[in-house]
Subunit: 160 residues, 2 copies
DNA sequence: TATACTGGACAACAAAGTTGTCGATATGCG
DNA sequence: CGCATATCGACAACTTTGTTGTCCAGTATA
């Protein structure tokens, strides 16, 4: 449509972005598994981040992540079972249950951040630090500020 | 780890890549839906591309996409029901069933390509054509050549 | 106080994969 | 030639991760 002769086909860049994302996430979770966190799933990272230092509730978590409160509730139950979060009653509102990260949950966050930095360093070495910063700047222009939403519920819909 | 003071946190770039990918795919499928293909799913695009002009079989499709042949078979059955592919016996091998795109299937491919080019043109306008080409070149260095694999079977594992 | 809203739990269901098994067909080799 | 092995596609059962709908308890508003 508006592409010059030897440009990449339009689908290539998005697909490569997805591929890079997936490689990074796979590496993070392979490392986490090797470092004592074999049960942490990619989406759990989003959940951990969304819980944050002050804690949340299931309904808020769902809103932050763009999923239903029920789905958020299931995640929390799973993570509680794995020892990554704790639930406590909210003293100001008897309906709510506050979710907080345990030390083990924080550990995941710390280790993930470390692996992400390692990956970033590798990319910096591959492309040069300046070029990588340009890439990051460009990506910021291409994506909204709340790049944190998940709503992957079923966007990768039916193959079948 | 190896990051200078004001660098982006390591997780930002991968997440923004995923976001950009998802926005592009959402736009493509919103357009497809508006143009008479409401039932086409993101993964179907991969399937269509993998079928190609010469046709395939379920087992080959599974290998190309990195999913099981059963899953590929389900996709094919769905797409056949939607009128996007046809099945015919292989004259050289009675076990195999050849999968080919119908005219309607090719139409999806053509329309998708068009939307992807529109998106690319918008990015070119936003960043400048030269920066976009650099971005594409960088992404090629960061990702493998077979950037086409799907194997999203469950990589986005359990939230719950 | 009566009504409406919100938080969390339970249940039923949907989508898209997976593994395992099976019969039918090909293929390779003694 | 004929048997052992491998592959194709189909069927079934299951898993994961989400969805809606319903319900009750607690809070807020008029």
């Amino acid at each position: 449509m508006a592409s010059a002769p030897h440009d990449a086909p339009g689908f290539e860049l998005p697909l490569r972005m997805f591929m890079a994302f997936r490689m990074a996430l796979d590496e993070v979770h392979a490392e986490l598994a090797a470092q004592g966190h074999p049960d942490v799933r990619p989406t759990h990272g989003y959940v951990f981040q969304a819980i944050g230092p002050h804690g949340t509730t299931a309904a808020d978590l769902g809103r932050a992540l763009g999923i239903s409160k029920q789905a958020a509730g299931k995640s929390i139950a799973t993570l509680e079972g794995l020892g990554y979060v704790t639930l406590s009653p909210d003293p100001h509102d008897a309906r709510r249950k506050l979710v907080h990260l345990t030390a083990r949950g924080v550990d995941v966050l710390v280790r993930s951040a470390r692996v992400f930095e390692t990956i970033r360093a590798r990319w910096a070495a591959e492309l040069g630090p300046e070029r990588l910063r340009e890439l990051e700047a460009d990506m910021r222009r291409m994506t909204p500020d709340d790049f944190f939403r998940l709503d992957v519920p079923g966007w990768f819909g039916s193959v079948g």
